[in-house]
């Protein structure tokens, strides 16, 4: 039996690496009936628990190096070659720091807040299709599950801010919740377009519907459709705000609100907040790749021999790099600008995008030769004209000129 289990393990690793179906099959068959469900669950969970926190450690280094390059400085370069071991040093520092809880704080809620933030963030990973045969759970309502578990993060931000008994924490938490609720609406509406077109809430079905290539080389990804392009941009902006990344990092705002709801957290609890923020960002990038960028599908037919999980992780990491790039280049928004942008600009455009998706769906019956061009033009007009009008209208009579610095130039 031990031999069978060992063989099953080897077969599993081989099948995962070579992208074959049912990787866990042989290993589970070697086990007694009662143990199978539990072992299967553990086998699904443990790679997620290893890979994404590992990616988090790598991302902190990449982010600091990248920001350093963008800001014309070196970034971390003391710990190990090129500062590679900086995440290890950071982790050790966080672990050994004193855990300070304010005397007047609500001890239990203060303790629970980071835990309640981390658990739903990890749960969201359960439905993402990581590869052709690497899907932890194929839920009938996968997207709904993703957003439902994400919704409870707001409550934990409130718990963190309120239990600290600190006015900066509370103000920061209120601003963070206002921002997260505001941007959740365009985020969900922009992914509703995908649900409308594919007719399924299951992420596996959504990836399946993006199979194949137009003209032999343009993949049928949703981002290459007018509604998908607009939806992808809206989704990306809203997910920047949902994961509290710059330029929407008002909740942290270390220079204004001394880090908002995180003010009274130190040591390992702070590390948990930090970790779940990055894990949330990775999950969001994974969902964006699944909904709009074809999930684990290859961008070109000749590249289909590359294992599917490589494409998924590549797309996810590319989006994370975009987030870092945006953080290095765009300044932080003020809180009123941020909420105005969500309600007056993002929400109308996201709603219009629903209409664009419907138009695209119902004009699919057009079959004259130049139909594709006309459909594109119609959809581009439907989203482009309101975009320009809203942008002009919201800028109003304010004259935007180049800012002149008296001393800095």
């Amino acid at each position: 039996m031990i031999g069978n289990i060992f063989t099953g393990l080897i077969v599993m690793i081989w099948r995962v690496l070579t992208d074959q179906p049912n990787p866990k099959g042989d290993l589970l068959a070697a086990l007694p009936e009662a143990m199978r469900p539990f072992v299967s669950v553990v086998l699904s969970i443990s790679p997620i628990m290893m890979i994404f926190p590992g990616l988090f450690a790598a991302t902190t280094w990449i982010e600091r190096k990248g920001l350093g390059r963008i800001q014309n400085r070196m970034g971390p370069n003391r710990v190990g070659p090129y500062g590679w071991f900086q995440p290890v040093a950071d982790g050790l520092k966080m672990l050994t720091k004193e855990d300070i809880v304010p005397r007047t704080a609500d001890k239990l809620v203060h303790f629970l807040a980071p835990v309640i933030l981390l658990v739903p963030t990890l749960l969201a990973y359960a439905v993402l299709p990581y590869g052709a045969n690497l899907v932890p759970i194929n839920l009938d309502a996968g997207i709904l599950f993703f957003f439902a578990v994400g919704a409870s993060t707001e409550l934990s931000v409130f718990m963190a801010g309120w239990s600290s008994r600190n006015k900066y924490s509370l103000l920061g938490a209120m601003r963070a919740i206002a921002q997260m609720i505001s941007y959740e609406i365009p985020l969900i509406i922009s992914s509703v377009t995908v649900i409308m077109i594919t007719g399924s809430l299951s992420l596996v079905d959504i990836v399946d519907r993006q199979a194949g290539y137009a003209f032999g080389f343009i993949p049928h990804w949703h981002v290459f459709k007018p509604w998908g392009l607009a939806g992808f941009v809206i989704f990306l902006i809203a997910s920047l705000a949902e994961s509290n990344r710059s330029p929407f990092d008002i909740p942290e705002a270390e220079s204004e609100l001394i880090a908002g709801h995180l003010t009274e957290y130190s040591g390992f609890k702070y590390a948990l907040f930090f970790l779940s923020e990055y894990l949330g960002m990775f999950a969001m990038c994974g969902l964006a790749a699944t909904l709009f960028l074809g999930g684990w599908r290859a961008p070109l037919p000749i590249l289909e021999w590359v294992p599917s999980y490589v494409w998924f992780m590549g797309k996810l990491i590319a989006l994370v790099l975009v987030f870092i790039w945006v953080r290095g280049t765009v300044p932080r928004l003020r809180v009123d600008q941020l909420l105005n942008f969500a309600w007056k600009f993002m929400l109308p455009l996201a709603l219009l995008n629903l209409l664009v998706a419907a138009v695209w769906h119902y004009t699919a019956v057009w079959n004259f030769p130049t139909a594709l061009i006309w459909r594109w033009l119609l959809c581009a007009l439907l989203i482009g004209v309101p975009y320009v009008c809203l942008g002009r209208g919201l800028t109003g009579t304010k004259k935007l000129t180049r800012r002149v610095y008296r001393f800095a130039e």
């Binding site: 439902a148 409550l155 409130f158 309120w162």
Partner: protein, 193 residues
């Protein structure tokens, strides 16, 4: 995994009941609101155990993601964050129980005398999201539209109440309505002299 279902049911039910009792009896209102969120999560878990995945996830998305947040915001905006030194049991607890029993009786009678009571459970107990969507858009489209109209009216009403904040002071308006947040965030330009 059918042998763990009763255990899971017992755990979920205990959690829901204990947190519901805590939500009624804790001294601090914010603690009560957080316990209520646990209760709502427990109810969502019960829906999931019954195989109603869509309802369960929608319950979490709406009740924990929005309603619980709305409640804590309302508490923070209307009350001080200190616990009030009053007894947990209201002096009118007898009247309260009487009213609760009365309401329960009326509701129970209404349900048992309606046509719902005699209806048999449907054969297919695992509805897909697609089926729910089809039912909502065909058989139940009128109730859906009526609820939509009601919610729109409520949203407009909330905006109108919140618009008067320059005369009647700070109101406990729902923070997810956009207008008041913007009004508060940006000071109005002073009138020209």
């Amino acid at each position: 995994m059918s042998h763990i279902t009763p255990i899971a049911f017992a755990i979920i039910t205990a959690l829901t009941l204990v947190s519901a009792i805590a939500a009624m009896s804790l001294r601090h209102l914010v603690h009560c609101a957080l316990c209520l969120a646990v209760t709502l999560a427990g109810i969502a878990a019960l829906y999931l155990q019954l195989g109603a995945a869509f309802v369960g996830w929608a319950q979490i998305l709406v009740y924990i993601g929005a309603v619980a947040i709305l409640i804590v915001f309302a508490i923070l905006l209307t009350r001080s964050s200190e616990a009030e030194p009053r007894p947990i049991l209201s002096p009118y607890w007898g009247v309260g129980i009487a009213i609760a029993v009365l309401v329960f009786g009326v509701l129970a009678k209404a349900i048992f005398s309606s046509s719902l009571a005699g209806r048999l459970p449907p054969e297919k107990a695992d509805p897909t999201v697609r089926e729910i969507g089809n039912q909502l858009m065909t058989g139940y489209v009128l109730p859906l539209e009526v609820i939509g109209l009601l919610l729109t009216a409520a949203a407009i009403g909330a905006v109108i109440i919140a618009m008067k904040d320059s005369t009647s002071g700070r109101l406990a308006s729902p923070p997810i309505v956009p207008e008041p947040a913007q009004k508060n965030a940006r000071p109005e330009t002073p009138p020209a002299h």
